[in-house]
Symmetry: C2
Subunit: 341 residues, 2 copies
């Protein structure tokens, strides 16, 4: 799901305007054009392709990644219309990875809707993902800019590497913090980084600015994923669209688990071996897990790590030309982790 | 599987040098460099990626698609080394589609070996396919040539469209000859066409030459697939690596079936409905099917169609500069259908 949607659904008050909404307002005209382009380019004489694509693309993701691309291009004073192609391409790459992810994870839900693999089966999800991925490259070719093609092609292979790495850490308590960070960086942060970087590269911005955009996206992506993984064990008053304990029930080895394991007593270690490694869980285990990650300080430490990445994102953004959109990027990084406190 | 392997395995005499071998000898130096590049670029710190890639890439495909790219570049007097990148990219795209194909078809075998999806499971096959596909675009970015990127990106989305189309025709006797040809053109011929066309485009050849290369590849690809689908019902003395009746047992609606159905008596129509639509087959049904496609003339007609596409490929090749490699291309088109007679 797009981070915007993910951020949106955990807004503490549903009426509050988030920094994501603020950025959206600043690029609203462009986003309308991107939306039109996305719908035009997911069309195909093979009707199942737009049908399945629409199911996911129109499911309420707020498209933070293409917004990063547009904001980056504007901050770098880009003149032209190719940033629209680039933003649509970024969303297509993201959508393609979600389709393949849901097949790999056998997901039942995506963005609160029945996942495409459940509605149409795995085969069309794999193939429509391939289609959208190819269309992303067609859109980028139209920008006439080889540097953005290089940035997104590289990010795409890194994402795939991250996904393969992640397979190895399923049910695997031997997963180290370094393994976890490598997966998060590749699987989630690489596309955030590329989305922002490519917007600056398209505008032919100086390398220092393009580098700052990349650093911003990379650190924002890591901060976002760490926060998301932490929230899975928080719950309580913070009502989220995503149910507390989803990762736990899927026996995912996320940062709270890794840190709790480092601090585990012998009975706690046996607990994690049973619920994560063996995947044997009963009704009360989630409560126990939440209690352990809190008492061992694993949650506090996870939040602190996320905070540090958000701070790095803010530092990177402060190297960008000062303007309204840059302020929105800084506020988004702040908002991204604030939700976990 | 690469066409070379497919062609190779059905050589009537195993000692005979085929036109594919002749072309290979003409580009042997380049192919060695392409092979090195392929192995260098499928490397990853995530060891499962090169492991799984190697399983398929080193399984004896003779790589006709990258050979077409190299031959096209040479015929157009290309000077430089980027044709090697392009040829490696073409093979990566082909390998990625095979990996996804085998997941979609739940294939047990590929190139006579246990398929990757069986050895490692569907998840790594999907994700390593994505990785190789992304690497293909990275390789193409290095050519610095947007036109070849456009040609291959377009071909990739057409291939995905063809694969989705094909899902609809499974067990579906309503599949028309036009449907079948659309699938074959998109799924098989588009990459042959793009492989040849891109080699010419990289060399900045005149549009008429690039067009001839494209026409050659497209028609060769269709001729090849039609022949392959016909051979599935031939058998007899012509011993092939692929077992006779594979398509039949998978209830695929290929050209021989479509043509036989057009000519079917009422009992024959019921036969096809049972074995293809309902998928209910017993031991003697393959023999009956072979008898029907022969007696109705469906096989002869399928062969004639394949022959016509091969002739179109030869006509297209005759518009190319006359040289040894062009002769090899013509001989390959000839060989491609000759195996079915």
């Amino acid at each position: 799901m797009s981070v915007a949607a993910e951020l949106g659904k955990i807004t503490l008050s549903t009426d509050a305007e988030t920094p994501v909404d603020t950025l959206f307002a600043l690029v609203a005209g462009d986003m309308q054009a991107v939306d039109a382009l996305i719908h035009a380019r997911m069309s195909s004489a093979v009707s199942l392709i737009p049908e399945l694509s629409r199911h996911l693309i129109d499911s309420g993701g707020k498209r933070l990644r293409p917004m990063l691309t547009l904001a980056a291009a504007h901050i770098c004073d880009y003149v032209g219309s190719h940033h629209l192609n680039l933003a649509a391409a970024v969303e297509f790459i993201h959508t393609a990875t979600l389709l393949h992810d849901d097949v790999v994870d056998a997901s039942a839900l995506r963005r609160g809707k029945v996942a495409a693999n459940v509605v149409w089966g795995n085969k069309p999800s794999i193939l429509v993902g391939d289609f959208l991925f190819s269309r992303a490259f067609e859109l980028m070719v139209e920008t006439g800019d080889l540097s953005v093609l290089g940035i997104l092609a590289r990010a795409s292979s890194v994402i795939a590497e991250g996904e393969v790495m992640q397979l190895r850490s399923a049910n695997n308590l031997g997963t180290t913090e370094a393994d976890y960070l490598a997966v998060v960086t590749a699987k989630t942060a690489a596309l955030f980084a590329a989305s922002a970087e490519a917007g600056g590269a398209l505008a032919d911005a100086p390398l220092t600015i393009v580098g700052a955009l990349r650093d911003y996206g990379l650190n924002l992506g890591i901060a976002f994923q760490l926060t998301d993984d932490t929230l899975d064990y928080l719950g309580g008053e913070q009502q989220m669209g995503k149910a507390v304990g989803d990762d736990f029930r899927e026996a995912k080895v996320t940062l709270p688990v890794i840190l709790a394991l480092q601090r585990a007593s012998e009975p706690q270690r046996r607990f994690w071996q049973r619920v994560i490694e063996a995947g044997e869980q009963s009704d009360r285990d989630l409560d126990t897990a939440i209690q352990i990650v809190r008492e061992t300080g694993a949650i506090g430490e996870s939040q602190a790590r996320a905070r540090a990445y958000a701070d790095s994102a803010i530092t990177a953004a402060s190297r960008l030309p000062s303007q309204e959109m840059t302020t929105a990027l800084i506020d988004i990084a702040e908002f991204c982790v604030a939700r976990a406190f």
